[in-house]
């Protein structure tokens, strides 16, 4: 369950628990195996288009690829129905990434000496396996099904949805049902970065230290329904998704009536020789349960009540400075209910239900316990800028700089910078050849990560990752 694992494991350092800090080095290695999905050579084979037609550098979509996706995996050229398959087309793609990496974390809790030490490890690894199957069933009806494994071979379903597009002949009426990626055009599933500290957008998974709300993660695929509309040339895009507040987990295991909404809109416009620019915004507003009935001391699935709210809002932009250089900008203002800020809510990563601030020994339910005096909504602001220098369709150099800053801690007296994050990534990706049959890239990346107050002793936690690998999709 790679993206799930990634999104949750990525948050471990943000929680001040020594146990997680101990595991961090191992987590780094695991994270190296965490990679986004969604580059689809099967579509290239179907339509006879090179990877570069749809991807600025695969898996990152360009405007044409985004339009193809928005049309329900259709080019709208009367060659979309499955009967137009050419002999090389089989609607399944495999992707995996063997690599060598060096991982370092500055402070890991140990049982001896001062109780913590630096840990560095190197070695070969591979990034699990994504199996992507999708495409049209009939004109304007398509599916996407993505079983994905971690490096142990354990599978989960990262995406499983059916979509109905161009209803009533209008590109403004497209509906998707199932488990799907939220419709931010800055897509973590399609990021070019792969290393342990760089594979995930921190902002897509950020949770303040001690916070129990895991349901506001933009980067996790969600279970629900989405309406999406776009103009014929895809310059204007709007979408609204309604989904369970379960962080994409199936079987409705948490709240009884907990839903979240994700709204996104963007507008692209031509800026002459600079290229086509896109600006937009998003808002994720939801509520999730904080109180559960217990059965044998464990939370009872589906019993969650006491919904509390959270929100993530921000700006996103894609700016081109000519044909070879672009900047992705993403910002976020996040806010959680004080209840989440005190640790309520998370029965996925915290099945024992421990709330250190409230009830260190008992379940983390708000029944009769209430909030500590002065507890407030944790709020934060963050942003990242990702740059792509597309030297040629075969060679892309990239960097990302990301920052998250707490603006209000839930518990008064907490250091104001606890949980602040800095993350820097730089690398390049080279495709020795480009065809419409398969994707192959040599990938080299270095990333560095720091969390204020995240080390076992309360000082800063930092880690770095160097990765050299090969990315295959075929």
């Amino acid at each position: 369950m790679r993206m799930w694992a990634q999104s949750h494991l990525c948050q471990k350092p943000q929680r001040a628990t020594s146990m997680l800090a101990v595991a961090f080095a191992l987590v780094c290695l695991i994270l190296g195996a965490c990679q986004p999905a969604s580059a689809f050579p099967a579509f290239a084979r179907k339509y006879g288009l090179r990877c570069s037609a749809c991807h600025e550098s695969w898996p990152m979509l360009n405007y044409f690829g985004q339009k193809f996706k928005d049309n329900g995996y259709q080019l709208m050229n009367d060659r979309d129905a499955p009967i137009w398959q050419n002999p090389g087309y089989w609607p399944v793609t495999f992707r995996f990434t063997p690599f060598w990496s060096r991982e370092n974390v500055n402070k890991v809790a140990v049982d001896t000496g001062s109780g913590q030490q630096s840990l560095t490890t190197t070695g070969f690894n591979y990034g699990g396996l994504d199996i992507l199957s999708g495409g049209t069933l009939e004109k304007n009806i398509s599916v996407l099904f993505v079983p994905s494994s971690d490096e142990t071979g354990k599978f989960h379903f990262e995406s499983a949805n059916v979509r109905f597009d161009n209803l009533l002949g209008s590109p403004w009426l497209n509906v998707k049902v199932g488990k799907f990626e939220l419709d931010s055009f800055v897509s973590e599933k399609r990021t070019l970065t792969l290393s342990a500290n760089g594979a995930a957008y921190q902002l897509f998974h950020y949770i303040p230290v001690g916070d129990g709300n895991i349901f506001g993660q933009l980067g996790d695929n969600q279970l629900g329904v989405e309406w999406m509309g776009h103009s014929f040339n895809d310059r204007t895009r709007l979408s609204v998704a309604v989904f369970n507040s379960v962080d994409g987990s199936p079987d409705l295991p948490y709240g009884q009536n907990s839903y979240s909404v994700f709204i996104a809109g963007s507008q692209a416009f031509s800026a002459g020789k600079l290229g086509v620019q896109r600006i937009g915004g998003y808002a994720m507003i939801g509520e999730a349960a904080t109180t559960f009935a217990l059965q044998g001391g464990a939370p009872l699935s589906g019993s969650g009540v006491g919904n509390k709210d959270f929100s993530r809002v921000g700006f996103e932009g894609l700016f081109y400075l000519g044909p070879k250089l672009d900047f992705q900008v993403f910002t976020q203002h996040g806010s959680d209910s004080a209840w989440f800020g005190q640790g309520y809510g998370d029965f996925i990563d915290n099945p024992g239900g421990l709330c250190p601030n409230i009830n260190p020994t008992g379940p983390c339910n708000n029944t009769g316990q209430g909030l500590p005096a002065g507890a407030r909504r944790p709020t934060w602001n963050g942003a990242f800028v990702e740059t792509h220098l597309v030297w040629s369709p075969q060679l892309t150099v990239f960097q990302r700089s990301e920052w998250v800053r707490m603006s209000q801690q839930s518990t008064p007296g907490t250091p104001s910078d606890l949980g602040n994050l800095d993350n820097y990534v730089v690398g390049y990706r080279y495709n020795p050849f480009m065809t419409s049959r398969a994707g192959f890239a040599f990938h080299n990346e270095f990333s560095w990560f720091r969390e204020r107050g995240g080390a076992p002793d309360g000082t800063d936690l930092s880690s770095s990752s160097l990765m050299l690998g090969f990315d295959f999709a075929f």
Binding site: W100, N104, V276, Y428, L468
Partner: protein, 308 residues
């Protein structure tokens, strides 16, 4: 952060070396291959106020076009073998969709519109996500592949008169023209692309080619070169070069051409439009055409026995 130590340092140096290597290796040019390197001419395109530059279109051509049209524009991209119809061969500069007379080069705007419109019933997508400047640059770039662009000027766009009213009479006249000009031989009497000659047709490269099936599709059906009535007018007045579809500019008067357009629209039986509304009002029956203003007959054309 002690980055450059032991293994890490070696790996960093290795990474940099590889980066430098691929940066050189990955130069943006189809420089190798059996054919001589293409010199980028200072070719331009002009579409309204836009000026496209071939040099600026090179990367986009490789990114979006070369897979089918080939690095050298000779329709030998790696996907060409799979495609039907085959991609356009830019080295011979014969283009289907033009506003200019048959046999002439298209205008830059014709090529620009073709890129943004795509080609129905083919693998050519709708590239309207590209910016106007990108499309203009691509137009300039594809002009470097054929010497025709150096030797000839684009043809003059044909004049399209204002559309005449859609009437049952105009539809009937269009049908008469459809019969007289033998359009049915390829397109079939009901426009379903099944005329007696349909199975024998090939394009200028001897690839089998199918005549357009008017009856397929619904309101979203498109013609190869556009979907407006003006586009249909242009198609048969300029011809579709490189295919058996000829130009009828020399045999149809402009107003008669509109009548043919109106009839052709009625062959799109699943399309909602004024032509089918007029036909429905007549219970779907097109009356025989009666020429109300016959040209005066020349004496030698008089029927036998006339004047007796």
């Amino acid at each position: 952060m002690r980055v450059f130590k032991s293994v890490y340092g070696c790996a960093g140096v290795l990474s940099l070396a590889l980066a430098a290597g691929v940066a050189v290796w990955g130069q943006d040019a189809p420089d190798t291959g059996p054919k001589a390197r293409l010199a980028l001419k200072a070719t331009e395109s002009h579409i309204g106020n836009l000026t496209g530059h071939a040099a600026d279109g090179k990367t986009d051509y490789r990114r979006y076009c070369a897979g089918c049209h080939g690095d050298y524009g000779d329709a030998n991209g790696e996907n060409a073998v799979w495609l039907d119809p085959k991609p356009r061969d830019f080295t011979i500069a014969t283009f289907k969709c033009r506003s200019t007379l048959t046999g002439t080069l298209p205008t830059d705007e014709d090529l620009y519109n073709s890129i943004g419109r795509g080609f129905t019933n083919s693998n050519m997508p709708i590239w309207n996500t590209l910016s106007p400047q990108q499309r203009a640059n691509l137009v300039a770039y594809i002009k470097i592949f054929s010497p025709r662009w150096d030797k000839e000027k684009a043809g003059e766009p044909i004049k399209i008169p204002a559309e005449t009213a859609v009437t049952l009479d105009s539809i009937a006249h269009g049908k008469a023209l459809f019969t007289k000009l033998e359009c049915w031989k390829c397109h079939g009497s009901h426009g379903e692309g099944d005329g007696p000659s349909a199975s024998t047709l090939t394009d200028s490269k001897d690839n089998p080619i199918r005549p357009y099936n008017f009856a397929a599709g619904k309101d979203d059906s498109r013609f190869k070169c556009g979907n407006s009535n003006q586009d249909i007018y242009k198609i048969f007045m300029t011809g579709v070069d490189g295919t058996p579809m000829p130009s009828f500019a020399d045999v149809i008067q402009p107003n008669d051409a509109w009548d043919l357009v109106h009839f052709l629209r009625t062959l799109q039986i699943n399309r909602h439009g004024k032509e089918n509304e007029v036909l429905s009002a007549a219970h779907g029956v097109i009356p025989p055409y009666v020429d109300k203003n016959p040209a005066p007959a020349a004496p030698e054309n008089k029927a036998p026995g006339s004047g007796q």
